[in-house]
Subunit: 492 residues, 2 copies
C-alpha cells in the first residue's frame, strides 16, 4: 500500500479524497454519485450505528422499516407546506427491462411497463411515514409514537464527494408523534442532545448546539436544532439535525387524535437524523498528513501487533508472546489483531496501520524477546516507547482512554481558537479569508441580511447557539440593532 | 385489540394475513407490493440480524455497502451468462420532479432530466459487486474476499404477500471471491450450514439441507444449496440459499488474479442470502389459532407482567413485587415488560400478549399478594400454574429453554410425519392432495419430467437432500431408472 498522501496544507480537499480511498474507507462506484463503503469504512459506521441505536432505545425509541419508494402524490400532499423541498430525486417510471428486439445482447426498458403513478426513491421519509401514521393514530392512547428507521436515501446531487455529499447515503431518521407542542419540543431537544453527546463523547468531535435560522431550516419544520462541528480547514460541518415539525405534517396527511378530554386535534411531530456524513466529520477532525487518526471508541482494530523476525523459529517465539497478548487484551474487551502475514514486510504493515489510523501498534522483535519488552507506538502523537511485557495490558487500557480524551481535547482547542468575535463587516471578511472557523457576530435577524452576507462571502449562519449570551450590539452588515451573536462560517 | 382470527383449518392464507396485521408485525403500504415493517415485527427481525451477523463475523466475513442502483449496462454484461434472469424490476429513468406548469398543486417528471443510462434498483447485487471486485482483485494476496451486505432489494412482483413475497424486501447477501473451485465450494457449504444452524437452533424451525435441481437453481450459479422448511399447511418454504457461482461472474466482469505461481486465472465466487421471508417461515411454523407463538430466542418481550387490581393502593402493592421481579429477571438477561397501563383492562392485555406471542405471562392479583404467589402462563401450551414468588426467576429460566426446545421438537415431529415416501404417480398425487408435506420420490433426473410433474400437480423439487440414501428405483413419473429419492412439495 503506497502512502504519498497530499499534504493538508497543500490541498485539503485532495488530501481528504486520497485519504478516504487509500485508507480503504470508501470509493466511487459505477453509478454516478453513489459510493461503495468498503469493509474498513463500514466497520467504523457499524460502531457508530451500534452506539446511536443503544442511545435511541435507552430514550424509548423503537426501530421500524418503511418503503423505499414514495408515490408522487404523497409529495404533492407534503409540498403544500414545504414549498422549498428539493426535487432532485431518482424517479422510477417503469417496472420491466426486456431484451432489445433489434439486438439480443441489449436490454431496453419495456414501454408497455409504465407505472400509472411515478415512484420517488425516498430522499427522506416524512411523507410515506405520516401517510402511514394516519392509520396508527386515533386516540391519545396511541401516542407518543417514537420510531426510528435505519435506511438508505437518495438525493440527486450534482457535485458529490465521498461521505460528505453522495447521491445515495445511509442514515437514520427518527419520526415521532406527540399529543402536545411541549412534548414534541422536548423530544426535539432531547434528540439534539443525544446527537451532541454521541458526537462529543464517542467520536471525540466538539460541537456547538444551536438553532437554525428560518432560511437554513428544514422545509416543513417550525424549528430546526443542530450540532455544528469545525473541520481542520476552518470550514463548518453540520453533524446532525433535529426538527420540531409542529402540526405541519399532521395537517398535510390529516392525522388527528382524540384527546383525553374527547377533543380532536392534529398530532405534533418531530424528525431527526444523522448520516454517513459523520464519517467525513470524523476524518476531517482528527486525521493528519500520515493518514487516518481514529478515536479508540470507533477503531475497528484498537491495537495491532506486528512481528519483526527472520525465519520461522523467531516468528514462533514472537507468536507465543503475541498470542498471549491477544488473549489478555481481548479479555479486557480490547480489539486486537496479530498481523503475522508473511506476504508483507513490517515496514509495509506499519505504513498500512498508520494510514488506517489504528490507535496503538505493538512491534515485537528478537531484541524484545531477550529483554522481555515490546515497542508500543501511538498513532495520534506518533510517539514510541518500550515497555515491559507484563505492563502491556494495563498501559494499553490507560492509553486508549487517554487517546480518546486527548483527541477530543485537541479538537476542542482547535475549535475554541477558531471562534472569533468580530464587530465589523471588514473584520468579518478579513477573519473569514485569513483564519476561517466560526465567526461570532451580531446579526439583525433579517433573512435579506443573511442572504446578502452569503452572496458576498459564501459564509452562512451555522446556528444561533443555545448558550449564546444576550448582549446588545449592531448587525455587522446592516448596522441594525441585535441582541445576540450568531455563528457564521463557510460550510461543507 | 380485537382477536377474532380466522381459524387455520378454515382458511390458512387468511389466518396468516390477519395474524401478521393484528399482531402488529407488518402492514401493506401506499406503495403497491411494499410493506411497512412495524416496530414489533422489526424487533424480531433485528434479533435475527444480530445472531446471523455474529455468525457471519465468526466465520471471517465483514460487512460493506454497495450502491442501490445498477446501471443497465452491467445487467447486460451479466445477462450473457444468466439467460433466465428475471427482469421485472424498478427502473429509474429521470432525476427530477418539477411543479406542473399547468397546475401548481401538481408535480410532474421533468422531461429534461432524463438519465443517459437507466438505473435499475438492485434485485440482487452480483453485477454491481463483481464490477467493483474487478478493482479490488489483482493477486492471490487479495483473496479471499469475504463480504456481506445488509440491504433492501426490489423485485417487481405482481402478487405479493406480507413477508413472503413483497416488491421491496430486506435481506443480507454474501458475496465471496476465492482462488480455487474447492475453496468456493467449501464456502458455499459452510454458509448453507450456518443458515441451517441458525434456522434450526435459533428459530426452532427444522430444515432439510440439499441441492437444487438445475431448473430451480439461481441463474448464473453452477450449484445452489438450500435449506427447506415445512409450513403447517403442508407447503414448503425455501428458507435460505447458498450459491456456488463458479467463474461465471468473474468471466462476465473480467475479474482475474495472479496466482502464487504467477498464472492468471478467473476468480471463483459464491453468493448466499436470507431475507425477511424468514419472518413468514417463523409465523407459519409455530403460531396457532390464538395468534403468534414465538421461540424465546426471538421474542422481543420474553416475559410480560400484568397486574390485576382495583384502586391505586393494590396497584402499588403489586408494583412492588413486579418491580423486584423485573429487576431480577433483567439481571439474568431476560427481557421483561411490566404492563401497568391504566388505559387497558387485564383481559385486553392478556389477549394482546397472546396474539403477539409473548412466551410467558405473569399475572399478579390481590390473592397472590396474600399467598406470596404469581400466576404463570405459557403461550405455547396455553397452560397455567401458580408458583411461589421466590421460585419465579428459576422457573422462568428453565421454562424459556424448555419452550425453545419444545417448539423445535413439535415442528420437527410435524415435519417428519409429513415426509412421505411414494412409489407411483397415483400415490404421489393422492398424498399431495390429501396430506401435503414433502413427498420423497424417485426422479429420473430429467428437466422435462420435473416440468411435467410441476404442470400436472404444482409440486416442484424442493431439493435433492444431502442425506438422501442411495437406492435403486424408478422415476414415479417416467418409470426411468433413478438412484436417489428427491423431495417434492408445493411451495411458497
Amino acid at each position: 500500500m503506497s502512502k504519498n498522501l497530499t499534504k493538508r496544507s497543500e490541498d485539503y480537499s485532495k488530501w481528504y479524497n486520497e485519504l478516504v480511498v487509500k485508507a480503504d474507507l470508501a470509493e466511487n462506484s459505477a453509478v454516478r454519485g453513489c459510493m461503495v463503503i468498503k469493509p474498513y469504512g463500514y466497520a467504523i459506521w457499524e460502531k457508530m450505528q451500534a452506539e446511536l441505536d443503544k442511545k435511541f432505545k435507552e430514550t424509548g425509541h423503537q426501530n421500524a422499516y418503511f418503503p423505499l419508494f414514495v408515490p408522487k402524490s404523497l409529495f404533492e400532499a407534503e409540498e403544500k407546506n414545504a414549498e422549498g423541498f428539493a426535487k432532485e430525486c431518482a424517479v422510477v417510471t417503469h417496472y420491466r427491462l426486456k431484451t432489445d428486439p433489434d439486438d439480443a445482447s441489449k436490454l431496453i426498458v419495456d414501454p408497455n411497463a409504465k407505472l400509472e403513478e411515478e415512484l420517488i426513491v425516498r430522499p427522506t421519509s416524512e411523507a410515506i411515514i405520516w401517510n402511514t401514521y394516519k392509520g396508527w393514530i386515533q386516540s391519545y392512547r396511541d401516542l407518543p409514537i417514537l420510531v426510528n428507521q435505519w435506511a438508505n436515501v437518495v438525493r440527486w446531487e450534482m457535485r458529490t464527494r465521498l461521505f460528505l455529499r453522495t447521491a445515495e447515503f445511509l442514515w437514520q431518521e427518527g419520526h415521532t408523534a406527540h399529543e402536545t407542542r411541549q412534548e414534541a419540543i422536548a423530544e426535539t431537544e432531547q434528540m439534539n442532545n443525544v446527537y451532541a453527546d454521541f458526537v462529543e463523547n464517542f467520536m471525540a468531535i466538539p460541537v456547538v448546539k444551536g438553532r437554525k435560522t428560518e432560511s437554513e431550516r428544514f422545509a416543513g419544520a417550525e424549528d430546526t436544532y443542530c450540532i455544528e462541528a469545525l473541520m481542520q480547514d476552518g470550514k463548518a460541518l453540520q453533524a446532525g439535525t433535529s426538527h420540531f415539525l409542529g402540526q405541519n405534517f399532521a395537517k398535510a396527511f390529516d392525522v388527528k387524535f382524540t384527546s383525553k378530554e374527547g377533543k380532536q386535534d392534529y398530532v405534533w411531530a418531530t424528525s431527526w437524523g444523522v448520516s454517513t456524513r459523520l464519517m467525513g466529520a470524523l476524518i476531517m477532525t482528527h486525521s493528519d498528513d500520515n493518514g487516518l487518526v481514529l478515536p479508540p471508541n470507533l477503531a475497528p482494530i484498537q491495537v495491532v501487533i506486528v512481528p519483526i523476525y527472520k525465519g520461522e523459529e523467531q516468528l514462533n517465539q514472537i507468536s507465543e508472546v503475541a498470542d498471549q497478548l491477544v488473549e489478555d487484551l481481548r479479555a479486557k474487551g480490547i480489539s486486537v489483531k496479530f498481523d503475522n502475514r508473511d506476504t508483507h514486510r513490517p515496514g509495509a504493515k506499519f505504513a498500512q496501520y498508520e494510514l488506517q489510523g489504528v490507535p496503538l501498534r505493538i512491534a515485537i522483535g528478537p531484541k524484545d524477546l531477550e529483554k522481555g519488552t515490546v515497542e508500543l507506538a501511538r498513532r495520534d502523537t506518533l510517539s514510541k516507547q518500550f515497555i515491559q511485557k507484563d505492563d502491556v495490558v494495563n498501559t494499553i487500557e490507560t492509553l486508549l482512554v487517554e487517546i480518546q480524551e486527548s483527541l477530543h481535547l485537541k479538537a476542542t482547542q482547535y475549535r475554541d481558537s477558531h471562534i472569533t468575535e468580530v464587530n465589523s463587516f471588514e473584520e468579518f471578511k478579513e477573519v473569514l479569508e485569513n483564519k476561517g472557523g466560526f465567526i461570532s457576530a451580531h446579526w439583525d435577524g433579517a433573512a435579506e441580511t443573511e442572504q446578502k452576507i452569503k452572496e458576498l462571502t459564501k459564509a452562512t449562519i451555522r446556528c444561533i447557539p443555545f448558550d449564546a449570551k444576550e448582549e446588545n450590539g449592531v448587525c455587522v452588515y446592516s448596522g441594525n440593532p441585535s441582541k445576540v451573536r450568531v455563528l457564521f462560517a463557510k460550510a461543507y
